[in-house]
């Protein structure tokens, strides 16, 4: 059982053995789009044993059903561990998805896991988007309130980031150094600072066609032309910028992004996206049908005053909650209550 496996975790070598036995079980399960408690433990073992890449097949499957009943806390841990694995492998957009799912989970009481997810979400948002997008409306109110009180160092850090001043950002980082280190987020903080240099250089490409290395250095607060050259080379290597360095003249020429998007790999990516979209739409339709034919929904709709409600159902498609609001006449307590039940 689980206890035996936890015992194994204590010895780092045998973590890998328990990993192997879990994996052979999981190979079959992964194909069925069903989320299992086991996944969470598997991720934990991967994290502890630092075999991050082995976790990827589990994380890349879409989960549509949950093997109920399960404790919410374990689902949160699944999301949190998944986010951490993606972060370790520098797959930041995926990490962002997982952390966001964690902190927007419907909740009255706020779990510490949600708060920690929110902190990481802020930092990774800065890395991916250069800003923290507003919290989604479907996040629970009590959660949002907890975030603003327990994540102050992080919100201050993200405000500094938006000033585009590396000096201010470094100050914010050192002001809250202890907090970031205690939370295990200092590595991400350092990556954010590096990314601000990159973003500031990228901004230059919008205004200039060519720029001297000296001007770049002074513009973005790098100590020398040589450092600017190193930074630009690094960005070219990572695909963050399209440019050519002329060392003799000490100049950099910025280019338009010459991606043609007509390669085989682009077509393959497009096909894969379309395929997963079709699957997703199919699933959504099934969920939609399940709700509209559910006992709860039908009971509510039958007790409505407006007779034409039932005939309206046939032409009914699109955004469920707002349509329902419209038909039930602005949503009295019964209507709102039902919408609440449907959302969670």
């Amino acid at each position: 059982g689980i206890n035996a496996e936890y015992g194994e975790i204590l010895c780092s070598q045998s973590v890998l053995f328990s990993l192997q036995s879990k994996r052979s079980n999981l190979r079959l399960i992964v194909l069925n789009f069903i989320f299992l408690l086991q996944f969470m433990h598997f991720l934990q073992v991967c994290l502890l044993s630092k075999t991050y890449s082995v976790a990827l097949p589990v994380l890349s499957e879409q989960a549509y059903e949950i093997d109920a009943p399960y404790p919410t806390k374990d689902f949160l841990r699944f999301l949190y561990y998944g986010g951490m694995i993606f972060t370790g492998l520098k797959k930041f957009p995926k990490a962002l998805e997982f952390f966001k799912q964690a902190f927007t989970i419907p909740a009255k009481a706020v779990s510490k896991i949600m708060i920690e997810s929110y902190k990481k979400h802020i930092l990774i948002s800065l890395l991916v988007h250069g800003q923290v997008l507003p919290t989604p409306k479907y996040a629970s109110g009590s959660a949002v309130n907890s975030f603003s009180s327990s994540c102050k160092p992080y919100t201050e850090f993200s405000s500094s980031y938006s000033t585009s001043s590396v000096v201010d950002l470094q100050k914010a980082a050192s002001n809250h150094l202890e907090t970031f280190q205690k939370d295990g987020n200092y590595g991400l903080v350092k990556q954010c600072i590096k990314s601000l240099y990159k973003r500031n250089i990228q901004k230059l490409t919008k205004t200039y066609l060519t720029l001297s290395l000296n001007d770049i250095a002074s513009s973005v607060n790098l100590p020398s032309a040589k450092e600017a050259e190193k930074a630009i080379l690094r960005m070219i290597e990572d695909g963050d910028i399209s440019a050519t360095i002329n060392q003799k003249e000490g100049m950099v020429s910025f280019h338009e992004n010459t991606q043609n998007y007509n390669s085989v790999s682009t077509v393959q990516k497009l096909n894969a996206h379309l395929h997963s979209l079709i699957l997703m739409t199919d699933k959504l339709q099934k969920v939609d049908e399940a709700i509209t034919s559910s006992q709860q929904y039908l009971t509510r709709s039958l007790t409505q005053e407006r007779g034409k409600f039932l005939s309206d159902l046939d032409e009914y498609d699109g955004d469920k909650p707002s349509m329902l609001m419209g038909m039930v006449g602005g949503g009295g307590p019964a209507g709102l209550g039902f919408i609440g039940a449907m959302r969670s």
Binding site: S12, T51, Y52, S53, G88, R234, I245, K248
Partner: protein, 151 residues
């Protein structure tokens, strides 16, 4: 069994396969840390190389494995001169061919990067990037352009 598969993959220079075999073998309790680490460096998979290094138990970190990771650490920090000095060690005969491939793949990758990033670069800097003495840099670069088509 794993040894045979590994030997076959080594002979075929199929580095992804080498990495996969080593990973499976590690999970089955029979690790080949040196080949695993070297193949990840050839594939330029530095994240996973770092995690591999971190999970190698301290008592199994032989000086040679540590030396292989040293190459990886230098690549990670883009310390070009140190990459080449760390490549230039006395390697045991089993691992020496793989290390040679690490050097070749790193040099090739760097040269590709340089040729698409620089319209002009000093011979001195180029030599540092490629770990060659200045008098060897120009012939080496010419050879590269003749043998590979740059888009």
């Amino acid at each position: 069994m794993a040894e045979q598969a590994l030997q076959a993959a080594l002979a075929a220079s199929d580095f992804q396969k080498i990495a996969n075999i080593c990973q499976e073998s590690e999970l089955n309790g029979r690790p080949f840390y040196d080949a695993h680490l070297a193949s990840l460096l050839i594939l330029n998979d530095l994240c996973n190389a770092k995690f591999l290094w971190k999970r190698i138990p301290k008592d199994l970190r032989t000086p040679e494995i540590a030396a292989i990771w040293e190459i990886g650490r230098n690549i990670w920090t883009r310390n070009y001169p140190s990459v080449y000095t760390s490549l230039n060690q006395n390697w045991s005969p089993q691992i020496s061919p793989l290390i040679a491939k690490v050097a070749l793949s790193f040099r090739t990758r760097t040269l590709t990067l340089l040729s698409s990033s620089y319209s002009s670069i000093s011979v001195g800097d180029c030599s540092v990037f490629l770990g060659l003495a200045p008098e060897n840099t120009i012939p080496c670069k010419m050879l590269f352009f003749f043998t590979s088509f740059k888009l």
